[in-house]
């Protein structure tokens, strides 16, 4: 019944063209792996489309896409279990090498290698605020928290990140 009000396919593709890159960026800094990030972007859009196809209504497509991706990332960490840097390094993963090779940028490799030392909750906030460029209130709405809580958490997360980068 709400089909006509719902998102049309053309709109959906436009949404991909507009948001694809920022979603990719988000997942890339969250999981520190280009291939995984690409897969996640695709899965996010496919899952969302299937949801729309079922006739479900989505109020805010952008927020919904981020929501789906966030769930995928949580699943990813749950599956790999080894969320810590040590475990990843043990597996022979070197974020610095990979990102330098891929992106050819010192900033990117620095950010990625330091972000990976943070817990995913902190990393999420930093990525949302400084990579995605969402405002505090936007993040608060997405995570269903008050602005205040988000500001405090973000502040602490940045502090931790600085400590990782500095020494």
């Amino acid at each position: 019944m709400n089909r006509d009000r719902n998102i049309q396919h053309a709109d959906f593709i436009t949404a991909y063209d507009e948001l694809g890159d920022s979603l990719f960026r988000h997942s890339f800094f969250r999981v520190s792996n280009r291939e995984v990030a690409i897969d996640m972007v695709q899965d996010t859009f496919i899952k969302t489309w299937q949801y729309i196809e079922r006739g479900e209504e989505i109020q805010n497509l952008k927020a919904y896409l981020y929501h789906v991706m966030n769930n995928l990332i949580i699943d990813y960490y749950r599956k790999s279990k080894s969320g810590s840097l040590d475990a990843l390094l043990d597996d022979g993963f070197n974020p610095a090498d990979e990102t330098v090779d891929i992106e050819g940028s010192a900033e990117v490799s620095l950010v990625v290698s330091s972000l990976i030392g943070l817990p995913d909750e902190d990393r999420k906030l930093i990525v949302m605020r400084h990579i995605d460029g969402h405002s505090i209130s936007e993040i608060a709405e997405m995570l269903d928290e008050s602005d205040n809580v988000i500001s405090v958490r973000l502040h602490r997360a940045i502090k931790k990140l600085k400590e990782i980068i500095k020494p």
Binding site: M1, F29, K162
Partner: protein, 332 residues
Amino acid sequence: MKNLEHILHTASKKVSMRDSEKTAIRARLLSLEQKQISQKPTLSPFSNLYLFTWKHSASLAFVAIFFFSGGVSAIADKSLPGSFLYPFKTDVNEQVLSWFAVTPQSKEELNIKLAERRLLEAELIADKPSVPDEVKEEHLKTTFDQVMVATAGGSEDIAKIEAEVKTEAQDASADSQIAPAMTKISTADADPLEVASSSPLSDSVSLASAKQATPAEEITKLRNTIKSLRIDLIKQEKDGPQKEETIKMQAKLLVAQKKLLIVSDPKTSEEKRTENLLQVNALIKITEAFLNTKPEIQPTTEEGASSSPIQPTKPTQEETKPTQTPSAPFLQ
């Protein structure tokens, strides 16, 4: 602080999907859309309820047509024990048939029909190597159950004959000579049989005698023939190698006896009567041929079933021959 934010910002600016990656995902998403487009016209404004049925309408329609037009049951009807449609045949098709058989008479007829079916199937699978032995054995059991159901239906006559056949067979085997046993049957045992079937027979005589030769005697003769054939079979079964064959023969004769009972029933239509008699006669001939080839087979098992010389010593032959010849004009 500012420095860090700047780093993060520049880092984020430098990360993006490559064009190839972007177009790959885009193509994937577009293909999702195309799938949707093909379904689009079928979506009604009223919705999700119809979504399921419309999506699968073609296949659903096909399945429905197949079922309702009896496609499955037609195929199942030809299935044999061991095939996966066979349960459909016995449990569904024949169950449906039984719903239509309302009167006791039609029920009886159906039971006979089913018994004959089982027998036919038993014959068809007998020489099929693809059917496992357990299935054959199992099927033989159900065949006998069906035969029992068919023959037991409402008549003490069969039970009586059955008891006689058994005692006769025992006597005969004790005598070890077949000839005396046969004479015994034809003389002593003819009487109770006559008594047993006299009442319906006399009715049928009064009805049918006006049109055709009296079937009453004919029927008793045929009955006695069948009885003697069965006794012969029981004897053969004891020493013969083809035990299954003889058992099947027995079952067929049982069914034949039942058919004769139906013939003797005054309510039976003329057509049915002639049809049954024809079948009974045919069966008698087959059984005779079977019994005659038997001694020949014993040493070498197979070969030369039809070409075997007739054994004059066999009493069944003498016994049954005369009954057949008069039956021919009657059946015309």
